[in-house]
Amino acid sequence: MENNVILSVSDVSKHYKYYKTLFDIKKNVIKAVDGVSFEVYKNEVFAVVGETGCGKSTLSKLILGLTEKTSGEIYFKGELLDYKNKKKDFRKKIQILFQDPYSSLNPKKKIYKIISYPAVRNGIIKNKKKDRMEFALEQLKIVGLPETTALNYPHMLSGGQRQRVGIARCLSVRPELLILDEPVSALDVSVSAQILNLLMDLKNETGMSYIFITHDLKLVRHIADRVCVMYGGKIMEIAETDDFFKNPSHPYSRSLLESMSFLTSTRRNL
């Protein structure tokens, strides 16, 4: 199992300090992530679920090095995850896809530029129009968008198309771990089905791992191998998806599942 681990999070915390009102003398502390440990395996989908404000997005920021840890360590394939270590290229290997396809793409840039930017920054291709275009066309094909998309601006695309562009951009640097933060919750079900299918295909083809952040348990059952339940910055339970749905061990997981059964079984049990 050991070398099957791609990411290992060990006792990681993030405490935000802030003044509640202008007149506070002492800072308040929010334990957004509080002593969290887990491992993500190669080519698995690791779902993180929990209600709003439980710390899911903060956790992903910590993994991406977008915010300083208060304490704890994170290892990527056995090595200390340190984004200052230029030799290791961790930035390339871990990517994130955001919830909102409307605000996560630069509205002033054409799609081919958006898609090829990370590859240019990481020195995978040269910063020449021809190279960037060629590269972008290849990526567009992977995510099932027509070539004409390359010259469009984001506002000319639908939500689902924008999310595909977002995926193309993430994949452009061949990441090994992709964090998906509510990747379909802003999309209609018909479009969301397309994106979920695409994500599953890509995972199987590339051997990537996903951390799939969501509060929709239907999606968890559909896509995840294991589930991690968070509440108030702490992990309540980590379980195989099947076990989790058949026999959740934590009371909080049970209450979450009840809220789902209300949405999936008959409407009488509200």
């Binding site: 209600e51 079900v189 089905a193 999606l219």
Partner: protein
């Protein structure tokens, strides 16, 4: 008590070519009875909000126009029987809020950010009722309490001091405070997370049980519609594609669009298997789909052929379930009642 929309058509003339108009709501029939919840389910851009707004003649002026139809309301407790489309402006003001109230997806845009929530509700009451300010305040507190918000303690809170779910409940309190006959809720849970949206759904269900209000619940989520509504209208590109008893529609969809929708939601269809490919509805809804001369679902339908290149009429059937008690309306030429409805 009843609300009956007959043959409502709303025209929208916007976009590049001003002269190019579409029927954003097309030949629509819909009814709600006392104590009934009906859902309108459709994906974004299908015209759900337009429909909701048109019922109160709140559809955007300048770009859209109600072309034909009638919206008949009967509300005994307020002693009114009328066609909304024929009301004078001052009568219409009375209907909005007092007879039919509306809640929107985003509570932030409908609550005044610089006014205490208690005062906003009090003011809403005083616009329609000739009672003292003190009495209005008492009612406001009572309704906040109904919504599981401590009315006295929270009376002086500003909207930003409340969580999203609390703000949505304040909106509902404000919508219910005048004891309306009908409530139109336009995606009231879409902006909320699972636990919070569950609270709001439970609340709406309680309101239904305790007040006899008739509710039109607009959503893009069929699972939400299932949890709350007696009947469902499946809406696509301005038209009802299928309508009938909610459970029967989900267990036995008749229209290709409904079939596709159900198959694309993980776990909703009876033959669902995790990790298998979800059904793909190709393409997406565009303004072109609203045009006349073909089935509006044509561009994405898995069953289409040349027989679908006409305007398609809504036809009525009966569900075999429940001893043929429920009517099912279907807008598809390929559907014949023996094929799907057992």
């Amino acid at each position: 008590m009843s609300l009956d929309i007959n043959n409502l058509t709303v025209e929208l003339c916007a976009g590049k070519d001003e002269n190019e108009c579409i029927n954003v709501v097309d030949t629509l029939f819909l009814s709600v009875k006392e104590g009934e919840v009906v859902s309108i389910v459709g994906e974004s851009g299908s015209g759900k909000s337009f429909l909701g707004l048109s019922i109160l003649k709140l559809n955007p002026q300048g770009v859209s126009r109600i072309v034909s139809g009638e919206i008949k309301i009967k509300c005994k407790s307020q002693n009114i029987e009328a066609d909304i489309l024929k009301l004078k402006p001052d009568e219409l003001t009375d209907v909005r809020g007092k007879i039919i109230s509306m809640i929107f997806q985003d509570p932030n845009t409908s609550l005044n950010p610089v006014m205490k929530i208690g005062e906003q509700i009090t003011e809403a009451i005083l616009v329609h009722k000739k009672i003292s300010k003190k009495e209005a305040k008492d009612i406001a507190v009572k309704y906040l309490n109904y919504m599981n918000i401590d009315g006295l303690a929270r009376f002086n809170s500003y909207p930003y001091e409340l969580s999203g779910g609390m703000r949505q409940r304040v909106m509902i309190a404000m919508a219910m405070v005048l004891n309306p006959c009908f409530l139109i809720a336009d995606e009231p849970t879409t902006a909320l997370d699972v636990t919070t949206s569950l609270q709001v759904l439970k609340l709406i269900k309680e309101i239904k049980e305790q007040s006899n209000v008739g509710i039109i619940f607009i959503t893009h989520d069929l699972t939400v519609a299932r949890s709350i509504s007696d009947r469902t209208y499946v809406f696509y590109a301005g038209q009802i594609m299928e309508s009938g008893n909610t459970e029967n529609i989900i267990n036995n969809p008749a229209h290709p669009y409904t079939v596709s929708l159900i198959k694309s939601i993980p776990s909703l269809s009876p033959d669902y298997v995790p990790k298998q490919k979800l059904f793909n509805i190709s393409g997406y809804l565009t303004k072109d789909d609203f045009k006349k001369g073909k089935c509006r679902f044509y561009s994405r339908c898995f069953k289409r052929d040349d027989g679908c290149l006409n305007d398609i009429a809504l036809r009525s059937f009966r569900d075999a379930e429940n001893g043929g008690k429920y009517r099912r309306d279907v807008r598809c030429v390929k559907f014949n009642s023996d094929a799907v409805i057992k």
